[in-house]
Point group: C2
Chain length 186, copies 2
DNA sequence: GTCTATACGGAGATAGAC
DNA sequence: GTCTATCTCCGTATAGAC
């Protein structure tokens, strides 16, 4: 196992804090304390706190798709992959104690004041939807369904479930949307 | 028309800033500047910035239900009321330029660090769902549907549509869930 | 009740020794 | 490349005159 580089450790610590506490509530001083480095080192690797935010988002997106691929490798077939996606997001929420979606949270907090961030999140969610769309298309080869509508339906149900599980601090909403999606994909 | 009291003006200005910029990104100094009062006056009316946050949430919840009642008064019948709810939330997002849901945003930003806030939002969303539930029950008297599932379905679709419209800065998701709900309520 | 002045801490970021 | 020391600004909140 390779030794973790300083830059990687900074991103890892900052990501965790941004996610759990929020971006604005996380100070540079806290990051350097938890990463056990000096402030000079941080600014040697990142030009600003905003630069660190970008690295955070890039890393989270990369890991999102990578982790899902690993999670869904256990099953085969488009229908199973879609349920695996629901299960993946449920497991992520459980393991983070229902801290919510990285991308929704950062847009809700930073929002319009940072177009780079909101643009990145928009693209990320679009990629998610396109992934669902491919699975739905695969499935539709043998079933007569409205691919557009089913794709949007699944996507929006998952987004609603993630937000609701964050608010309620439980995973009930994921169990519910599973039933709803089952009804959409007989 | 009654003259707006100082306290009301403070809440109005703070609410607008909290919603558009976020809670942490809004400073006391900005609030008093836009409300055109001195800092001493603010702390005469509110004991802290957190106190102001509470007032903001209480006001937004009150107006949420009041505005929806006015909006939905135009139509009658449970099915129509539900579509009126979708239309209400769509209109709210349009008029705020897709700034998102007050309650989701504040939980995403403040989250676990303020249990009073997260508890308030949880209760608020529960009230929304109970309102939907009553409408679904009314509708179910003449139709054979699974009330639990349909209620959750509508609720989660709306939450997903609100979040997605915030991210995409358009109201497409509301038009889509309308079709989906139509399919649920023949 | 509203004002001005100010306390006090922490924010993000930089300088310069090593 | 990493360190310590420090700069400047702005955050929330308080004191006390009027």
């Amino acid at each position: 196992m390779k030794k973790e580089k300083v830059r990687e450790r900074i991103i890892r610590v900052a990501s965790d804090l941004f996610y759990r506490q929020g971006f604005n509530s996380t100070g540079i001083n806290q990051i350097i304390a938890e990463a056990d480095i000096a402030i000079g080192s941080l600014y040697n690797h990142f030009s600003s706190k905003n630069d660190l935010l970008q690295a955070y988002l890039v890393k989270e997106e990369f890991e999102w798709f990578k982790s899902f691929e690993e999670h869904s490798a256990k099953v085969s077939g488009p229908r199973e992959k879609i349920f695996s996606l629901v299960d993946y997001r449920k497991k992520m929420q459980l393991s983070s104690k229902f801290a919510g979606c990285h991308f929704i949270k950062i847009v809700a907090e930073v929002g319009d004041s940072n177009p780079t961030v909101s643009g990145f999140v928009r693209q990320h969610k679009l990629k998610q939807k396109e992934m669902i769309r491919k699975l739905v298309d695969d499935y539709a080869e043998n079933e007569n369904i409205d691919e557009d509508l089913v794709t949007e339906n699944i996507f929006l149900l998952i987004e609603g479930a993630v937000v609701t599980s964050m608010i309620n601090k439980n995973s009930d909403s994921f169990d519910q949307i599973q039933k709803m999606i089952e009804a959409q994909m007989p």
